[in-house]
């Protein structure tokens, strides 16, 4: 406003009053743009004509950094991808490297990983639900979600000492064993948790305003969703029952009974429903894992790739040499070539593609981040919608910019 001067009289005389689209820079500092997302919106009144996402504000060069680190040193880097659910990233990375090295993970470690991954999924979905509801204006849900999130994070803290950037899994297993007390406390929490989910649903699911804000908004058809490469709750919300955990099971997902919840219409509401059902499924997976977990080793027997136990290193010369070689040269793989493994993280399908040249460091590591793919769906979702729908759509695609920009 103010910069362009119209000659109003001439326009009125000629019958063509000049109008102009309003360009609104939405983010990177905006209360509803999750993280540092920047959208440039072309507005006609309140209607979005064009929506252009800009990414890269959180680029830290994780893929490049990985080329200069030993395989086991990359784990903390993967924490910083989707920092809301670092556990699933760690596990996804470890599974790729284990496949590259040809390591079999012991049974107990698989169960521990499954439990931790599902807790992480609940954590991520809790943050999503809270912020999504807050964007739409229901602020109480946000604080209720954080109340439960705190309890799960406390358990993470007891598990590995960290609350967010956990770096708990190791190539070949997990860092430390879990105690029975911890499992009992988690079991108690899972008993209480379904009641909490119902509490959130009472607040928003039966609320007419919520339904009107979410039903029929941001519709993606199943065909479009597949063509755009969407995954996770977005794809399932459109009615495609694809879940990596079901189709290419890893960890202990093939040993527990669970279902893939799907939506029908592919709108914001269906994606919301899918994630709410995933709360229940994750909860049930955790309970089954706690019931089925057996005692045993937590690290694989593969001395060529795995650091020897610390107490042995300090007392035994062979272990010390072994330790020294692994730390300086890295775990050398005989495998030349490339490998890609995908895992299901809360946001969708997270894939790690590694090119190995036989040294202790990856020659190239590429991360297929679901958030990056999902942002590309945003222009299609937002065009023709209102400004208020833009925030509903951002909430429903559940992106984390750390993962998108890497």
């Amino acid at each position: 406003m103010g910069t362009t001067k119209y000659s109003l009289n001439n326009d009125v005389k000629s019958g063509s009053l000049a109008t102009e689209e309003l360009t609104l820079s939405f983010g990177p500092q905006h209360p509803a743009a999750h993280g540092v997302l920047r959208l440039v919106l072309q507005l006609n009144g309140e209607t979005v004509v064009r929506c252009t996402p800009y990414v890269g504000y959180l680029h830290r060069g994780i893929e490049k950094l990985a080329e200069h680190r030993n395989y086991f040193q990359i784990i903390p880097l993967t924490d910083r991808l989707d920092y809301v659910s670092s556990m699933t990233n760690n596990i996804g990375y470890c599974i790729v490297v284990e496949k590259l090295f040809g390591i079999d993970v012991p049974e107990r470690a698989k169960f521990i990983r499954t439990i931790a991954a599902e807790m992480s999924r609940i954590l991520s979905h809790l943050l999503w639900l809270g912020t999504h509801a807050l964007d739409i204006g229901a602020m109480t849900v946000f604080l209720y979600c954080f109340r439960e999130r705190e309890k799960f994070i406390d358990l993470f803290e007891r598990l590995c000492g960290a609350r967010l950037t956990v770096s708990y899994p190791r190539i070949g297993g997990v860092r430390n064993d879990i105690g029975n007390n911890w499992l009992e406390d988690l079991y108690k929490l899972t008993e209480e948790f379904p009641m909490r989910i119902e509490q959130y649903e009472t607040l928003i699911d039966k609320n007419r305003i919520w339904l009107r804000r979410t039903k029929g908004i941001g519709v993606i058809s199943a065909e479009d969703a597949i063509n755009m490469g969407l995954s996770g709750p977005l794809l399932r919300g459109s009615g495609v029952a694809y879940d990596v955990r079901k189709f290419m099971p890893y960890s202990a997902y093939d040993k527990v009974k669970w279902e893939v919840p799907i939506g029908k219409n592919g709108d914001v509401y269906d994606r919301y429903r899918v994630r709410m059902e995933e709360f229940r499924q994750s909860n049930s997976i955790i309970r089954q894992c706690i019931e089925k977990i057996s005692s045993g080793p937590i690290m694989a027997q593969a001395p060529k790739f795995i650091l020897p136990p610390k107490d042995k290193v300090l007392t035994d010369i062979e272990h010390l040499i072994h330790h020294f070689v692994l730390i300086t040269k890295g775990a050398q793989t005989a495998h030349h070539g490339e490998i890609y493994v995908a895992t299901e993280v809360p946001k969708g399908e997270l894939g790690f593609y590694i090119v190995s040249d036989g040294t202790g460091k990856p020659y190239r590591m590429r991360i297929r981040a679901p958030s990056f793919v999902h942002i590309s769906a945003l222009p299609k979702l937002c065009e023709g919608a209102l400004v208020a729908d833009v925030v509903a759509n951002i909430g429903s695609i559940d992106i984390v910019l750390g993962e998108c920009d890497r």
């Binding site: 406003m1 103010g2 309003l22 609104l24 905006h30 209360p31 509803a32 507005l43 309140e46 509801a133 807050l134 964007d135 739409i136 204006g137 229901a138 602020m139 109480t140 604080l143 209720y144 109340r147 607040l203 928003i204 609320n207 305003i209 919520w210 009107r212 804000r213 209102l386 400004v387 208020a388 729908d389 833009v390 925030v391």
Partner: protein, 323 residues
């Protein structure tokens, strides 16, 4: 009017404005506490016992903050917008009868006066949005203007039924006409329409679209800081008090309470304030509970539901009065 009367009026104004400003300070505290407890947290706790001095700390902070004026802002309009808001809100207080014999001006057109001033209050929002030279503020201002058009009508029409029953637009007469029963019993539709429209009128959740923080940052006052921002804040809370007071006067029997046993010894002002604060509590409550409406849905609600309901209410009231 003698000098004595003018003096008394000045003292009344002074007392009333002081009390209402204190109300504003502690309504913010109360809101934060009420919503805090609804959200499983404590609200302000650190400044003073149970955070009781928090509003004063907030006021001092706002008062001494730097007053930032955006470059290219329309300065005179930018300055005057919050002042219009506060003046409109505070002058509405003049006709509110806190008890039977206390009101600064006992106007015969009390309701019309309040409606006129609340429309004027909307100008402060529109002008603030326009003058800030910010796109977010601009959109907030536009939303406010659309909202005002939709809800002014509904709010006016919902009070017509009350005026028909009381046969007067004078607020004292309206309360006196409710000596048998409060009008909420015979005008439930009008009460519903009035309360909902009043929420939209004062820009409170779930109709807080002009200041929807997740969409428009802070809406029309995005560019305001310091005491100018404080003035908008003050105007909103005074407007909330006035709307609750009007609802109390027109539908809940104003200062009248049950007239038996010990209740007849309770002062009228106490009854009045209990009713007003019950309504304000209701405002807080729905803010903690409900998501926000979308702009076009809000328009639809106003034009397609509230206005027809209010019109139907007038027709029914007229028919009942006729026969």
């Amino acid at each position: 009017m003698t000098i004595l009367e003018i003096g008394i009026t000045f003292i009344k104004v002074f007392i009333l404005v002081t009390i209402v400003l204190l109300h504003v300070a502690y309504a913010t505290y109360c809101e934060r506490k009420v919503i805090g407890h609804m959200q499983a947290r404590l609200g302000p706790m650190h400044v003073g016992p149970h955070g009781l001095l928090q509003p004063i700390a907030d006021f001092v902070k706002l008062f001494f903050k730097e007053d930032i004026i955006p470059s290219n802002a329309d300065k005179p309009v930018f300055f005057i917008a919050p002042v219009i808001g506060v003046i409109a809100a505070l002058s509405s207080l003049a006709v509110i009868p806190l008890w039977e014999t206390f009101s600064i001006a006992n106007l015969n057109i009390g309701i019309l006066y309040i409606l006129a001033l609340s429309s004027l209050g909307a100008y402060s929002i529109i002008l603030a949005g326009w003058a800030s030279n910010s796109k977010y503020a601009f959109l907030g201002g536009l939303r406010a203007s659309a909202q005002v058009i939709s809800y002014e009508i509904a709010i006016g029409l919902s009070l017509v039924g009350v005026m028909m029953l009381a046969g007067s637009a004078n607020l004292v007469d309206i309360v006196n006409a409710q000596s048998m029963y409060p009008f909420i019993l015979v005008q439930p539709i009008a009460f519903f329409v009035f309360i909902m429209s009043a929420i939209a009128e004062t820009n409170r959740a779930p109709f807080d679209l002009p200041e929807a923080e997740s969409e428009l940052v802070a809406g029309y006052f995005t560019e305001y800081s310091g005491m100018r921002f404080g003035l908008f804040f003050m105007a909103e809370y005074v407007a909330m008090f006035i709307m609750s007071a009007i609802a109390t006067i027109c539908f809940l029997g104003g200062w009248k309470g049950p007239d038996f046993w010990v209740f007849s010894y309770v002062p009228q002002i106490v009854w009045f304030l209990i009713k007003v604060y019950a309504l304000i509590f209701f405002y807080f409550w729905i803010r903690a509970t409900l998501p926000r409406y979308r702009y076009d849905q809000l328009m639809g609600l106003g034009w397609k539901l509230f206005i027809p309901l209010a019109l139907a209410n007038i027709v029914i009231t007229g028919l009942v009065k006729l026969f």
